[in-house]
């Protein structure tokens, strides 16, 4: 007998995991799959995904657009747009291992591309801003096309299914990366669909998230004023755009960004700067329970909501930093870490590649937000 909602208990709750090798040494995707598979019970088969950094070193300069299409017509339309705006060095379907556990997959293509100089000149904007606007355009204006990732030397592999099956489907054992993040999904308020699986990415950013952003609408309305269009029907999308706006466009430091998205309670705000950040960016406070891993090419930051309503564990072993929803997911791949701890609420765990001091380098040319 098929049980309906309310008659069955699903003891899930989303899972996140991340591994960074600070020395930049690359390792293949089976490790992160083992991590996330160890937390199988936390997902319910309606979403899984991975972000991988350092997988396309031969094309490190190119922006790699992984795009999902509902139908061929969407691909034609999107490729017409891409050909008009980008010089595409290479394009083709993303290699997949078809299997019974993953069904209803969209058409999945990738494009290694750089914006056309002429287009940048016409638009009077920098490369990153151009790619950002292109992603927003595809997601919101090309029906049936969704950008899964758009960064350099990185990609997101995500879809509907258990994360270990999604990893198998995308043949992650064939890729080597110096940093991986992963997500197992238990969709709560929003549909479980391919575009809505985590990670949510933009340029080099990727975010995996366990929790619920109750402030989604407030955050979205604020971000829309700056040209961010939320089209993927999931709360996590605003986190990606919020960190992109704060750190890439507004040039906030990581500490200041943390003070915005996971601000201390008013009574705990101590200095004038914190106070101003809290006021100026009050609409970017992420309210509700969350644990997230925010990653870029330089490293990652794992953080909880300010009162830690979701679990998060971190561990170190040699050059490697591990973060995860559960300790077991770390121990399954690293049985004897040098150090293991539970970070407090609003207390970021930061891992950067050796030689890097920030999550992102300042953009060569700062561009003010214009109406998109």
């Amino acid at each position: 007998m098929r049980l309906r909602e309310g008659e069955v208990r699903i003891p899930s709750g989303c899972a996140i995991a991340g591994i960074l090798n600070r020395s930049g040494q690359r390792f293949n995707g089976t490790t992160i799959i083992s991590c996330i598979a160890n937390m199988h019970q936390r997902s319910n088969g309606l979403g899984g995904g991975f972000a991988a950094y350092g997988i396309y070193p031969e094309y490190a300069e190119q922006y790699v657009l992984h795009v999902y299409y509902d139908h061929e017509k969407a691909r034609e339309e999107c490729e017409y747009y891409l050909n008009h705006n980008f010089n595409i060095a290479l394009q083709g379907p993303v290699p997949l291992r078809r299997q019974a556990k993953i069904s209803n997959a969209p058409i999945i293509w990738r494009y290694f591309a750089l914006p056309k100089e002429g287009r940048l000149f016409q638009e009077e904007i920098g490369t990153e801003e151009f790619v950002f606007r292109s992603v927003m355009h595809i997601n919101s204006s090309i029906s049936g096309a969704y950008v899964a990732s758009s960064g350099q030397n990185m990609a997101a592999f995500k879809g509907v299914g258990y994360p270990e099956d999604i990893g198998e489907f995308f043949r992650l054992d064939d890729y080597s990366a110096y940093m991986w993040t992963a997500h197992g999904r238990f969709p709560t308020n929003t549909p479980g669909w391919w575009g809505g699986a985590h990670p949510f990415t933009l340029l080099n950013w990727s975010v995996v998230h366990n929790g619920e952003i109750s402030s989604y609408s407030t955050n979205r309305r604020f971000l829309e004023m700056y040209g961010y269009t939320c089209s993927l029907q999931t709360d996590t999308e605003v986190i990606t755009y919020a960190v992109d706006m704060l750190m890439r466009r507004h040039g906030l430091s990581m500490e200041d960004t943390v003070n915005v998205i996971s601000a201390p309670l008013w009574e705990d705000i101590e200095d004038e700067k914190q106070n101003r950040l809290r006021r100026v960016y009050s609409s970017l406070l992420l309210n509700g329970p969350f644990s997230i891993i925010v990653a870029t090419g330089n490293g990652m930051m794992a953080i909880n909501d300010r009162i830690k309503l979701r679990p998060l564990v971190a561990a170190e072993k040699g050059d490697c930093l591990y973060v995860s929803s559960e300790e077991g997911a770390i121990k399954v791949v690293e049985p004897s870490p040098d150090r293991i701890w539970s970070p407090g609420g609003g207390e970021p765990v930061v891992g950067l590649l050796y030689g890097k001091e920030k999550l992102i380098e300042p953009e060569p040319k700062i561009i003010c937000a214009q109406s998109a």
Binding site: K308, G328, S342
Partner: protein, 243 residues
């Protein structure tokens, strides 16, 4: 004694096998995040766990004796009614959530929300003793029972913020210095020593035996007892008067 290698089974198989073991003594090796071990057990079985038991170890349990050689994930002793748990390592968040009886001995640190909603009734008095430090919201909404935090070998503050918020019963004992601002405002703080420690000396003594730590060193520092100032601290919160 039954010996089980957890690594050979899936989560569901392991729980099924455990529930069917007739032996009184069970040893489980190779645990790595398997949840619901001893969940809802009502028999006084003895369990030795090696590795890392997952979430909700001994949740709703009534009677088992469990010794864990390693850390434990979230929710250990969740709503436990009676039994004894020793963790030779650290535990994650919400340990002892709504605990109604029994004992939880933790050698190292505990995460957020330790013993929230803990309660006592007649002879059922839960006790949690933590060797290291505890995260925020320890003893939140606590209604009964005893919590002891020793702060041995830890680099963090003894207790995180909002300790005892909404607490209306039970006692928390803190050893040595603690951040006063992290304690809820309506909580009475009394430094206790000598025979005022009679209530907890047995637990301290057993901690020192279980985890091989000299009792004398534990008693080196003064203890502070936290408890509520009156029986109904929030009686007038909404109405503005006490009916």
């Amino acid at each position: 004694m039954a010996v089980i290698d957890a690594g050979q089974y899936s989560q569901e198989e392991l729980i099924k096998i455990l529930n069917n073991v007739t032996d009184n003594d069970i040893e489980i090796n190779g645990l790595c995040g398997q949840r619901y071990v001893a969940c809802g057990w009502t028999k006084p079985k003895r369990l030795i766990l090696k590795g890392l038991p997952g979430n909700n170890l001994a949740a709703f349990a009534d009677g088992p004796e469990i010794i864990v050689h390693g850390n434990v994930q979230e929710g250990v002793a969740n709503t436990m009614s009676s039994g004894h748990i020793q963790v030779h390592g650290r535990v994650g968040d919400i340990a002892g959530y709504g605990m109604r009886g029994g004992e939880l001995f933790i050698k190292e640190d505990a995460g957020y929300r330790l013993g929230i909603h803990m309660k006592a009734y007649q002879e059922n008095k839960p006790i949690i003793i933590v060797g290291g430090s505890v995260g925020a919201f320890a003893g939140e909404y606590m209604a009964g029972g005893t919590m002891i935090v020793l702060g041995l070998n830890t680099s963090q503050p003894l207790v995180g913020p909002y300790c005892g918020t909404g607490m209306y019963g039970g006692e928390i004992y803190l050893r040595g210095d603690y951040p006063v601002k992290n304690i809820a405002t309506n909580i009475e703080k009394v430094v206790v020593s000598g025979n005022e420690l009679d209530n907890i000396i047995d637990y301290l003594h057993r901690y020192s035996i279980y985890f091989n730590y000299p009792l004398g060193k534990i008693l080196d520092e003064p203890f502070t007892r936290l408890c509520v100032q009156n029986v109904r601290p929030f009686a007038g919160l909404y109405a503005g008067f006490v009916s």
